[in-house]
């Protein structure tokens, strides 16, 4: 493992922790952006340039902005009275710790030696485009329909209806 991996991993984990622990919701959204950026850099480190830039465009460019919009539209930036964590937080923390323990144990104790440690895959955008238009054309079309219907659905759900709103 290189020092770059450890540095970016530390930044990513710090961003994720801050996103889940900070009191102000807007600060949480900004910390979340740091975590997303760290993950994008990890994707680039893994020679997955296309996925890395898609991560930057989709998560930092769209999802983070959506989250900030939602926070500002719902007055979620004001700190709630009864604390930011629910009353049953020890149970949630214990469940998460147990999940991490199982995952970590499985990763560290697995004996499967992967053969391809050094070979660096060179993937051009041309190959990705050919794969998307060839072998993966059906998933691509399904994703297109899903995105369209999800965005129309989101607009309809969030639309302000004069008759029914209080």
């Amino acid at each position: 493992m290189t020092i770059v991996f450890y540095l970016i991993a530390a930044i990513t984990i710090a961003g994720a922790l801050a996103a889940m622990l900070l009191k102000s919701t807007v600060h949480c959204a900004l910390a979340l952006t740091i975590a997303f950026a760290g993950l994008a850099v990890q994707f680039l480190e893994l020679d997955a340039q296309f996925a890395g830039f898609a991560q930057i465009l989709v998560y930092i460019g769209a999802v983070a902005i959506l989250v900030v919009f939602a926070i500002l539209l719902t007055r979620g930036s004001e700190a709630p009275k009864g604390g930011v964590f629910s009353k049953s937080w020890p149970a949630g923390l214990a469940i998460a710790a147990m999940v991490f323990a199982v995952l970590g144990w499985a990763v560290l104790s697995s004996t499967s030696v992967l053969p391809n440690e050094t070979a660096k895959p060179t993937v051009s955008v041309l190959e990705i485009g050919n794969a998307l238009m060839g072998r993966y054309v059906l998933p691509l079309e399904i994703i297109a329909v899903l995105l369209t219907s999800a965005l129309i659905g989101a607009v309809i759900v969030a639309k302000h209806e004069k008759g029914s709103a209080k």
Binding site: A16, D47, A48, G76, G82, W89, L93, L151
Partner: protein, 107 residues
Amino acid sequence: MIGHVTALQGYLLLAAVLFAIGLAGALTRRNAILVLIGIELMLNAANLNLIAFWRYGPHPEALTGMMFAIFSIAVAAAEAAVGLGLVIHIYRFTQTTDLGQMNRMKG
């Protein structure tokens, strides 16, 4: 044991940490938007796993893991849009995003 962490194991451990953080946040935060943020973190951890297995797997030229990750990113974007739309809509009726106070299904 820690001294012999391979590159793949390092990435998988990072993904496990991020997944645990997201799960803890989704289970313990009271704000509905922050629960959605926790879910996004978990999805991102899964994406990191997919990319890491693609990079260190036997056939990276087949692009399978990378395509999985790209489609997963697209699905996550749709999920975020619908989820936040729902939160905004619920906020209009209840005037709150506190999950402890959203305790009735009638609008």
